[in-house]
């Protein structure tokens, strides 16, 4: 079996296992390339109809192209979409550096919708190769009501056997894309012909490699304007995917700090 098919099967297995063992579950749809791949995998896992809601935690600061994309595919894909909102920036810990503080808004938005809807499982499209602390994640990762990630005492995850039994104040973050790398995602998008926002393709010498909020995401220099060109570019690049994300550079451990408080 080829590499992409192996990854695809692992993700489908995880999605099905999550759905069969956790009652109230939802999937985060950030409108980015990874979460579109994840939605696509959910179609495969559940044979054409996703049996749980998709959640978009809206910071209201996304690019307009992203909102247009959301509206189009909500209908086309017949999604059960729930929108969550985020508190104003003034409500967020002022001791955080500016971009990180902005990112922390999303965490609060997520916690809010979790509490409202009482979700016991949230499926999120993070990957190990994105960031050092994400490299340590589990496929099924428990969080208490504050969203705290107890990284020093993560549950054992043996083979493909995932523990889903936790006290009632705990919810699980499920990560079906954990084993994928950035280039895998692009190759799969190409193989399966999965739609994505145009911002990923270069225009006037710049493109977005990763899409976050408008004010804290910057495009990278690139002339890659097709899927093939993007894949080729990634084969040779030495800069990291999140280099356009400002928050990563603000402090040595900023990512760990945010994640331990519930960031994705």
């Amino acid at each position: 079996m080829d590499h992409l098919t192996k990854l695809e099967n692992e993700s489908i297995f995880i999605l099905r296992q999550a759905y069969s063992s956790i009652k109230n579950i939802a999937m985060l749809w950030s409108l980015g390339k990874d979460s579109n791949v994840m939605v696509w995998l959910a179609f495969k896992a559940f044979l054409g109809k996703i049996p749980f809601p998709l959640v978009h935690v809206d910071t209201k600061k996304k690019f307009k192209e992203m909102y247009a994309f959301r509206d189009k595919y909500e209908k086309l894909w017949n999604l059960n979409l729930i929108l969550g909102d985020c508190p104003p920036i003034s409500k967020i810990d002022p001791s955080l550096p500016p971009a990180a503080r902005s990112a922390a808004r999303k965490t609060e938005g997520l916690k809010k919708i979790l509490n409202e809807k009482k979700f016991k499982g949230i499926i999120a499209g993070i990957r190990r190769d994105e960031q050092n602390t994400r490299a340590k994640e589990r496929f099924f990762s428990p969080r208490d009501e504050t969203g705290k990630w107890d990284v020093k005492n993560q549950p054992a995850e043996l083979w493909n056997s995932f523990n889903t039994e936790y006290p009632s104040n705990v919810h699980l973050r499920i990560h079906p894309l954990l084993s994928w790398t950035e280039i895998d995602i692009w190759r799969y998008i190409k193989r399966e012909n999965i739609p994505i926002v145009d911002l990923y393709f270069a225009q006037n010498g710049k493109r977005y490699r990763s899409l976050g909020d408008k004010d804290i995401t910057k495009p990278v220099e690139s002339n890659a304007s097709t899927l093939d060109e993007i894949i080729k570019e990634l084969q040779n690049t030495k800069t990291s995917e999140r280099s356009g994300r400002l928050m990563d550079k603000e402090e040595e451990n900023i990512f760990e700090k945010l994640r331990s408080k519930g960031y994705m």
């Binding site: 079996m1 080829d2 099905r16 190990r128 050092n132 054992a156 043996l158 523990n163």
Partner: protein
């Protein structure tokens, strides 16, 4: 040798070894020699080392958490992605500290190959052995050994040969195959990607060995195991979704579903957007619709008719334990195997291997970081395999309340004592022969069919309890029927006497009748002395998935005292021959699903117990 680039292929490698023997340095150097570390990361590391007043340490590349950096230890496994010209790699860096054993094992369970690193100066240390021992237990059979820090021992041939001999001997003793042993200096980058000229070493460098490694876990000729993960109802179709864990699944073949032992065939494969193949192989997650409308649940296994998994509720396993609480005999735990949870107890500890020093002990407690051979009893029937035969259906994790406390592999799932090993195809539920089938009946009455096999001495109370429960549940709308041994002997079994052979036949016929009732959707209560274990086990094997053995317990003295039918008196005076308990033996069940003690409890209480049990096991959820 010349290899074609195959960027599609990915090898997952775990790297283990004693603390400070150079794991991080090896990974860092490998990546940097392959030109695959982002510049910003190197700069990050320089900055971090500088603020801490250290020389350049590759460990900072991998240890992502602040505590890890500050304390200089790896707490949790991390995974590093890179590629050579030949293929993609995922390197799994596992923590060396023994407190983090569960993290090391978590990392190891996803690896195909291991690199063992040994410091040439310090030689083989405690964790060197411990780690490879666990790898072997987890089924990783191939290891590349690198002897590191050769620069500190002047690339000395004899020291290398010494270590080579020692580690080879040990790895051989635990059944691990050495792919290569390579002298390296991680710090200098010798024999990792770049060859170091040594007069005495003419072998390959690490990267070559990695690139040329072929995962021999071939699936050719393996028995089919398709484990049902869930059942979806999509527009009138009942679709079984699951993963092929071993072998191949073909459209045309006949299969059997365990544990119900029902013969089935595939109507269609259900894949989104559409199925394009007639055959699916190990690792593929698929959906399928069966031609037969039968009862299937999560955790059921589809296999070839002649090569089905073991059906058992007792088996031997080798487990590893990482809870701070010691394992408790006869306490209820859960195991997760084949996508499902099962309640189990550990009924016996056979031996303990202390992985710190690899000594073996008998009759002791299983504590944190122990490996042990144990006997496991489950409440329900499991469809499992010996780990050595079929990996994926022979491994499990152990859960205590909310915590994964350990895991293990099935050592021996032979069930000769419990269930007849030859598979029995249940012809009664083939839907092509019948208009109405089992599943329709179940849906109509709203409960599942089952067999309650009440065994116990004459006069222990079997029939009385059965009649009471039959009445109660009938009034609650259950399809329930009581089959009494005495009554059967007046009709169907009139030709049988009480000699051992006839008792066997008596039981066989009764069980077959019960099986027919089950196909008709009934819950059957059987009251039959059935004194021999082996016969009761044969009865169980006819419908293992719904069979419940109920031991109606009362002492022989008590039964003789009751002597409702005057039989004991007759037996004592010799007027009845081969009377159970007096002139013929009664073998008590080892592990009945339920024990009802009629000496300690009144008849109403006893009936209530059975009634509750039936509702729990077969009633509407």
């Amino acid at each position: 040798m010349n290899f074609k680039q195959n960027s599609e292929d990915t090898l997952r490698v775990i790297i283990v070894g004693h603390v400070d023997h150079g794991k991080s340095t090896l990974i860092g150097k490998l990546l940097s020699d392959l030109n695959q570390i982002q510049e910003e990361k190197i700069n990050d590391i320089k900055k971090i080392c500088k603020t801490r007043g250290l020389k350049f340490e590759w460990a900072f590349l991998l240890d992502a958490l602040k505590t890890e950096r500050d304390q200089g230890i790896t707490i949790d496994t991390t995974q590093i992605f890179f590629r050579s010209d030949r293929r993609n790699y995922v390197f799994i860096d596992a923590p060396g500290h023994k407190e983090f054993l569960k993290n090391m094992i978590t990392g190891a369970t996803s690896a195909q190959l291991a690199i063992l690193i040994i410091d040439g100066l310090e030689g083989i240390q405690e964790q060197t052995k411990r780690h490879v021992f666990l790898l072997s237990l987890l089924g990783i059979k191939d290891v590349i050994v690198v002897i590191n820090k050769m620069d500190l021992i002047n690339y000395d041939k004899n020291k290398f040969a010494d270590l080579e001999a020692q580690i080879s001997k040990y790895l051989k003793s635990i059944n691990i195959k050495i792919t290569a042993i390579i002298p390296i200096s991680a710090w200098n980058g010798d024999n990792i990607v770049r060859k170091k000229t040594l007069r005495w070493y003419k072998g390959k460098v690490l990267l070559e060995v990695l690139d040329q490694f072929k995962d021999n876990a071939v699936d050719h000729g393996m028995p089919l195991r398709f484990v049902v993960q869930d059942i979806y109802k999509i527009s009138e179709k009942r679709i079984l979704v699951g993963r092929v864990e071993s072998g191949k699944l073909k459209k045309k073949s006949k299969y059997v579903i365990s544990p119900s032992n029902t013969k089935v065939s595939i109507k269609s494969f259900e894949i989104w957007p559409k199925s394009t193949k007639n055959e699916y192989v190990t690792g593929e997650c698929i959906g399928l619709e069966l031609n037969e409308k039968i009862f299937v649940e999560k955790g059921n296994v589809l296999s070839e008719i002649t090569r089905s998994p073991s059906l058992t509720n007792t088996f031997e396993a080798r487990i590893f334990w990482f809870s701070n609480q010691r394992l408790r005999i006869n306490k209820k735990y859960k195991i997760k195997i084949n996508t499902t949870d099962y309640e189990i107890i550990f009924s016996k500890i056979k031996k303990i291997i202390n992985i710190d020093d690899l000594t073996e002990k008998k009759n002791d407690d299983v504590e944190k970081n122990n490996v042990a051979d144990v006997l496991i009893d489950s409440e329900s029937i499991l469809c499992i395999d010996n780990f050595e035969l079929v990996n994926n259906t022979g491994k499990f994790s152990v859960i205590d309340q909310f915590e994964v406390v350990g895991g293990g592999v099935v050592k021996s799932a032979s069930k000769s004592e419990l269930i007849d090993s030859h598979i029995r195809i249940n012809e009664n539920v083939k839907s092509e022969d019948f208009f109405v089938n089992e599943i329709d009946r179940v849906l109509k009455v709203g409960h599942r069919p089952g067999i309650l096999w009440l065994t116990g001495l004459s006069g222990s109370g079997k029939s009385t309890i059965a009649k009471e429960v039959e009445k109660k549940l009938f009034l609650k709308g259950y399809n329930i029927f009581s089959l009494d041994g005495d009554n059967l002997r007046q009709g169907l079994n009139r030709d049988l006497d009480f000699m051992p052979e006839s008792r066997v036949e008596n039981i066989r016929r009764t069980a077959e009748v019960a099986s027919l009732f089950v196909s008709a959707g009934f819950i059957v209560l059987i009251s039959l002395i059935s004194p021999y274990k082996v016969d009761r086990n044969k009865a169980r094997a006819i419908r293992p998935e719904v069979f419940k053995e109920i031991f109606i317990k009362a002492s022989i003295e008590e039964c003789e005292k009751r002597d409702v039918k005057g039989l004991y008196a007759k037996a004592r005076s010799g007027r009845i021959k081969n009377f159970t308990g007096i002139t013929a033996p009664y073998e008590e069940p080892n592990k009945p699903e339920l024990i009802i003690d009629t000496e300690k409890n009144g008849i109403l209480e006893c009936s209530k117990m059975l009634e509750k049990f039936v509702e729990k096991e077969f009633g509407k959820k």
